[in-house]
Subunit: 426 residues, 2 copies
């Protein structure tokens, strides 16, 4: 194997994985961490809690990769065989570490329990392997070397594995490649429109490489430089990010780990403004997304889920004649919901949504996916827009909620005109 960690293989262990009861998310997470550092992942494999299979895979991966990451099989039960399999591959006996044993005992004492005898094995390791402390569980990890290949065995639960990977694996990685990644986040624009606007920037041979990933409610643009030169890479990534931002303009709401509700909460906080919501088809989802953000109470007064017509009329003052004249999914109803909510909450901005999420309730005139979104604001005219979203009930509700937040964001940055994806002539 080479002096640097050029290639890696990932092995996930557990009957619950091969039975399909649990989806393995560890392999993808580890792959992202490694490929962001320029290490090429050769393969992921998943095997049951079976000694011969585990040992055979560790042996095979040690012979063809510079780095092997194994997750799972470090628990205290008879099904947990990773440390025995590693000992077999190393042809070593297991030895126990009394100080680690004491630490495990103390974990149990701290919750007023006696350590079961079965947990003793978690303090054991193949002679030449090193135990890696686990702050969040009883199972320490293991680090061994086989002919220059680093083998790490980490516990399966992601909340234990992630910090151990960051503490014990990342610091020892040796690579001679520079990899820089940056993500630009958009909302209210279709993936195909993003691709059209970016044009040749998405050429597969470009460095930095520019790619898009669409989720139900947004499109992310990933910029990835891979090379040898950090300063050059940083300059090229900065340039590319600038070009992408300028081509996508008002649809870009953030970068990196930012999400739209968080950006909206930040904009409201910066302006000292307060928000209220009046939701029909989204049924509380906008309020939920806003209050997912810690500290949302600084900017969010509250909201109504006006699911029935009576609730719309009695709680936010929609004129009941509107239901007969135009229906609950209509411009006047949407406008009155937003304006009624603004007045009654004494907020500065009130978002309203009324639409048909399906699967039932559609008509030729107003098919499933027809959604009105309104935004009432103190001292400025109310905006109302009509959308036709596609997808199932969940997708239509999520797209409606995120589009409402996108509309509010545009208003907060002074953009009154940009048309959002799926907008229909109202």
């Amino acid at each position: 194997m080479s002096d640097t960690h050029d290639t890696a293989a990932i092995l996930s262990i557990g009957d619950e994985l091969v039975l399909g009861q649990t989806v393995d998310t560890n392999s993808a997470w580890i792959s992202r961490m490694l490929s962001d550092r320029g290490i090429r992942i050769r393969t992921h494999a998943t095997v049951p809690d079976k000694m011969t299979e585990i040992a055979a895979h560790i042996r095979m991966f040690a012979s063809n990769s510079d780095l092997v990451i194994v997750t799972g099989g470090l628990g205290p039960t008879e099904d947990d065989l990773t440390r025995q399999a590693l000992a077999e591959v190393l042809d070593e006996d297991l030895v126990c570490d009394e100080s680690v044993l004491e630490r495990i005992r103390n974990r149990f004492r701290s919750v007023h329990m006696e350590m079961p005898e079965s947990n003793r094995v978690q303090a054991c390791h193949p002679k030449s392997a090193r135990l890696l402390p686990n702050e969040l569980g009883t199972a320490p990890g293991l680090h061994a070397r086989i002919k220059g290949t680093d083998i790490f065995c980490l516990p399966g639960p992601p909340n234990e594995m992630h910090p151990m990977f960051e503490a014990h694996v990342l610091p020892i990685l040796r690579t001679n490649r520079v990899v820089l990644t940056h993500i630009v986040r958009t909302v209210g624009i279709a993936e195909s429109t993003v691709a059209d606007r970016l044009g040749e920037m998405m050429d597969r041979s470009r460095n930095p490489l520019v790619g898009t990933t669409a989720s139900t409610d947004s499109v992310s643009i990933r910029i990835r430089y891979e090379g040898q030169d950090l300063a050059l890479g940083e300059r090229l990534v900065d340039e590319t990010v600038g070009q992408v931002r300028s081509l996508l303009g008002p649809f870009v709401f953030g970068e990196g780990e930012q999400n739209l509700p968080g950006v909206v909460v930040d904009l409201l906080r910066a302006s000292g403004d307060k928000l209220a919501t009046v939701e029909s088809c989204t049924g509380g989802l906008i309020a939920k997304l806003i209050t997912d953000v810690p500290g949302a109470s600084d900017v969010f007064h509250g909201g109504w889920v006006t699911y029935s017509n009576a609730f719309k009329a009695e709680q936010v003052g929609v004129d009941p004649a509107v239901f007969d004249r135009s229906g609950a999914v209509s411009e006047p109803c949407c406008r009155q919901m937003a304006e009624g909510g603004l007045v009654r909450s004494r907020a500065d901005h009130a978002l309203s949504v009324t639409g048909i999420a399906g699967p039932g309730g559609g008509s030729a005139d107003k098919p499933v996916g027809t959604v009105w979104i309104g935004l009432a604001r103190t001292g400025r005219p109310t905006q109302t827009r009509l959308f036709r979203f596609n997808g199932d009930r969940d997708a239509i509700r999520l797209r409606s909620a995120m589009t409402a937040l996108a509309l509010l964001r545009l208003s907060l940055i002074g953009d009154e005109d940009t048309a959002l994806a799926c907008q229909a002539p109202g």
Copy 2:
């Protein structure tokens, strides 16, 4: 290989998988489908879009399993190499099927597009392999046999793969095992308490096997019979389900694919009753969960997200003196939220939640996770209960919302007394 499909291996193909940009959910889904039919999964593997790796894995799996399922790599681009790899393993040339080519051309015509030349390869197959029609995409699947092993290649997108698996793989499976599975769903009880109550029923050598799976908000009990005798299996599963239900009593809310919001909506509909919600820390999540259920408008009038104290006082009539005397996270506030919501909505039941979801806002007296849940009902006394939930903000909010629905469910079935998990003396 044997006459029956006893063992299977699953191969997932794609750079996006080994780079960790996409989590592979296909392997788990296929594993569940196969293991529910008594087929043992030997391994999952994931490899990049690389011909030699794909071919090597197909060859290896064909030699040690009765069934090989390959997903991904059937698209029209140069990166899609599954069909070429299969041809290499079979040592056959690719031949093209004109009628399939015509079908692909028609797919494009139906959306007013010309078929790009690159899509032509999707109509090709190794000579001895059979093309499997794909109703939802351009990529047909492939079925080949190598020394008695069935090899299926299916497209990667789950919405295309699932129906193709059901149409083409399931019907040809030959097993001599009978596998029956049944799931019993509980809420408001800890996994360790479930295990205590089930006791010896969870013995790993029992048939039907009884296992538990905990998610953030509920615990499922899985009952699995594996054997030769369908009638015997059905009787044993029925008996076991009966025993599990009787040991877990009021905590069982459903079976199979049922979820708690759906069960609550059904109970409300059966009684002709209406619901309203008044949410503070859950921020609209209860309303969102209820309105996730299609047809929730039959039973849900609407709700308030009373995030600020002013909103609680003005919109549902909480006495402002309560905030000074007891605080917003208190029994009197919770009670007045529920009772105010009941009166103003004219519903039959009103749920209220007020608590501290964190990460900030906790105190020695009222640490993060302190949550009051209330239920006001026409003609019956209001219930209020204090909980101390653990976990992060998301977990505390989800547990609060699901526990509120669990409390409502108990009330709807006439149970006034059962204590739910994490309940604290109020």
